[in-house]
């Protein structure tokens, strides 16, 4: 297992070297870094899933490679962020080895997550029409990426506490069995928060992600599809109202329904993304051979290095490369859910489920958005998109997942 995982890292680090001879050192640094982190992982959580870290190494190396191809300056920054992310990963592994203790502080953590979101609402700056950024000195920072972690831990711990109560119905309303309202209250609060997020952050992606992750957790915890149905209809109801109240929501949906009605204006980004995929065809135009940059050096597709990085991959690596990336994300999800299946205690199970679902849903939302499968919601592709907050937060997610994995495996041994 160790050998395969290191091998993965080597192969992909080599790939980076071969394709970018000028940055031979970058490949070596990646290899060394992931090697070191891998050894550390072996020491701290020896029983954790051996595939997750190599997949992450592969995704983030490919991401940096793609960013390098778009803008070498951004790639250098992203490399720094990757190092910060790995440091954060090591930090989380080292500090939260007894991760079950997190459950004891669930309300603190939940409040922390909400505080991060409120902070964004109050102090956030609008970029691309969504208010996701706050500035910490010289560094831009996207709190929702971290709030994602906080809220998943909170949901997992809270649902672990109340799941049995939620499955017992005490009263009936309109013929539907309902659990005690006070146990539902925090969840309803979060539903409201999701809508508030949409209103104040103007960010469909993040709110959709939070909400769907919560629904997945509810379903896994209670086994009742009713929650999912009710949750989805509530969200749909909210979404319909928002559609009529907020022009930017309307715009997103209209573009999705028919980007061709204004291919040079509102539909430009999606249309150009579709052109990029079509240009890539089956095998792609080859790294560096795609039509990503205009003569002035700007990217043809706005936000190519962040939200639309997958379009660049689709154009340069073709269907073959793009499907390979999708499969990598699916394998990540499979390993994550495997941890959940194997876990002996409910908190570990719910934590692994929540983290994996958040990860998988985030990937799906943006991959579906750039391919026009679903309406586009501005959100990063985990580990591949350019962006410090995204990569650091996702390394935090990975660390927690590995801790849960190690915890699950240890119990198995006993």
């Amino acid at each position: 297992m160790v050998l395969t995982s290191v091998g993965f890292a080597i192969v992909w680090a080599r790939q980076v070297e071969r394709l970018e001879p000028a940055s031979l050192a970058v490949g070596a640094v990646f290899l060394g870094l992931f090697g070191l982190v891998h050894l550390f992982r072996r020491l701290v959580v020896p029983h954790a899933d051996p595939y997750l870290l190599p997949i992450t190494a592969l995704l983030s190396s490919l991401g940096i490679l793609m960013i390098y191809r778009i803008d070498p300056r951004l790639a250098r920054l992203q490399t720094i962020w990757l190092v910060v992310g790995l440091a954060f990963f090591v930090f989380v592994l080292a500090v939260f080895r007894r991760y079950r203790r997190l459950a004891d502080y669930k309300y603190l953590i939940g409040l922390g997550g909400i505080a991060l979101l409120v902070l964004t609402m109050v102090a956030g700056r609008e970029v691309y029409g969504a208010r996701l950024w706050i500035r910490l000195g010289p560094v831009g920072f996207q709190p929702p990426e971290f709030a994602k972690l906080f809220l998943v831990v909170f949901f997992a711990a809270y649902l672990d506490d109340v799941r049995e109560l939620l499955t017992v119905s005490t009263r009936r309303f309109l013929g539907i069995a309902l659990p005690p309202l006070r146990y539902l209250a925090p969840l309803l609060t979060l539903w409201g928060l999701g809508l508030l997020l949409m209103i104040f952050l103007k960010d469909l992606g993040t709110s959709l992600l939070f909400f769907c992750t919560l629904l997945a957790l509810m379903y896994v915890a209670t086994g009742r599809l009713l929650y999912v149905v009710v949750g989805l209809s509530l969200f749909a109801g909210g979404a319909v109202v928002l559609y009529h109240l907020f022009p930017h929501v309307q715009l997103r949906v209209d573009i999705w329904l028919d980007p061709w009605q204004d291919p040079l204006g509102r539909g430009y980004q999606v249309v150009q993304s579709l052109f990029a995929f079509a240009g890539g065809g089956l095998f792609g135009r080859g790294l560096g051979a795609g039509y990503l940059l205009s003569a002035s050096g700007n990217t043809i597709i706005p936000a190519l290095e962040t939200d639309f990085i997958f379009s660049a991959i689709g154009e340069e690596l073709g269907l073959v490369g793009a499907v390979a990336i999708i499969l990598l994300y699916l394998v990540f999800v499979q390993r994550g859910l495997r941890i959940a299946v194997r876990a002996r205690d409910d908190f570990t199970r719910l934590l692994a489920t929540g983290l994996t679902a958040a990860f998988g849903l985030q990937a799906f939302l943006i991959l579906g958005g750039v391919t026009k499968l679903i309406p586009l919601t501005g959100i990063t592709l985990p580990f591949m998109s350019y962006g410090g907050s995204s990569i650091v937060a996702n390394f935090g997610l990975l660390a927690l997942l590995l801790l849960a994995s190690d915890g699950a495996a240890r119990e198995e041994e006993i």
Binding site: V220, F275, A278, Y291, L337, G368, K372, L373
Partner: protein, 463 residues
Amino acid sequence: MQRQVRHLWWLFVIMFAALVGQLTYLQVWAAPGLRTHANNTRAVEQEMRVERGLVVSSDGVLLAANRREGAYYFREYPEAALVSPWLGYSSLRYGRAGVERAYNLELAGESDLLTVRNYLDIIMDRPRRGADLLLTLDSRLQRVAVQALGDRTGAVVALDPKTGAVLALTSSPRYDPGRLDDTWDDLIADESRPLVDRALTGRYPPGSVFKLVVAAAALEEGAVEPGTMFDDDGPWLAGGFRVRNYADHVYGEHDFAQAMTKSVNTTFAKVAVGLGADTLARYSTAFGMSEELPWRLGGGTGRFPDPDAMDTAHVAQAGFGQGEVLVTPLEMALITAGIANGGRIMAPYVVAEVRDYRQTVLERTEPRVWRTPISAATAATLRDMMVAVVKEGTGTAAALPGVSVAGKTGTAEVGEGSPHAWFVAFAPAEDPQIVVAVVIENGGTGGSVAAPVARAVLEAGLR
């Protein structure tokens, strides 16, 4: 709870399978349509990375080449005056026109002709290159035509009547296709419309050169013979319209051949009215007017009015090429070529060969008959009448020493300003090597303004 996690897993499998499905649709199924979508500049961008094929005249002069800037190739035209406007342009911003447009697949290296060559290049890791075009156009003759026309608005077309090969093709005003991106706004705003290729798309009233078509119809139908006598006693009333001769000449008794030599309007009006609108329309079509030209370069088609809508006055005017008859310079050259070639109009062509960059010939244009409007006998009769026009009639300015030239003048009245000057000719009359059609907008009389231009081209073409 394990069960629910498994359900979640299958949900993810379905979601990601949908992603793969959508990607396959985009990158394989819908890809061809998206690649050629009107808003997709990627196709043009990709073509700009390919070294475009060269365009070379029949005597080996380079007419279109490439200049490389970074990853892109830009078009250069070393002989801008010779190639504008028929060769067109190829611009990342403004697209293409003319030969650059009609032969874009070959020039860009996308043609099926290049399939094998392109595969070899991929295997050998060589960059793809477009195919070269060897034209029928002779740069020497082209230069003479350009200089003879000068800055006057109009067009000159020269053909080989036996093959249909275009030997010279020019129209004025011109533009520099190599500087198109810098001058586009001015060219679009220019009222003289330099971007328009008048030789192919300029529709002019033909005036008396159309008498060739009327005479061909009358002779072929047996309505007249060269010796048929007519009497001209001044303006002739046709359906209320007063048919007058040029400068109000009165010619008295004369035969049909002399009517051609002197370009007698009254006589041709009488012949036209005698033939009727239907017959004139039929022969106009037979000569190729208002028909799609059998080549990729396109070009506007002239028109003969709807015969059902013509009254006697209209038919009489059509007899000397006025009224609503319209014709392009190239069409007029093809009509003349039909007479020169014994009644058979050869399909025109400007590209003799398509070659890959290793000079392997991928496609060679074979001459073929396009239309046969009249018999060889009628063509010979017309030829003799046209020889007389240059020898002793209105077209003496086109005469060449030692060579018998056949020609016909045209002076087409227009609403305002001087008439358009026309001249069509071929030489030598007994074994035609070259056909020329000249039109000069608002130039004056065909015999004094257009005939000398035709003479210069004929002389150069026979040298």
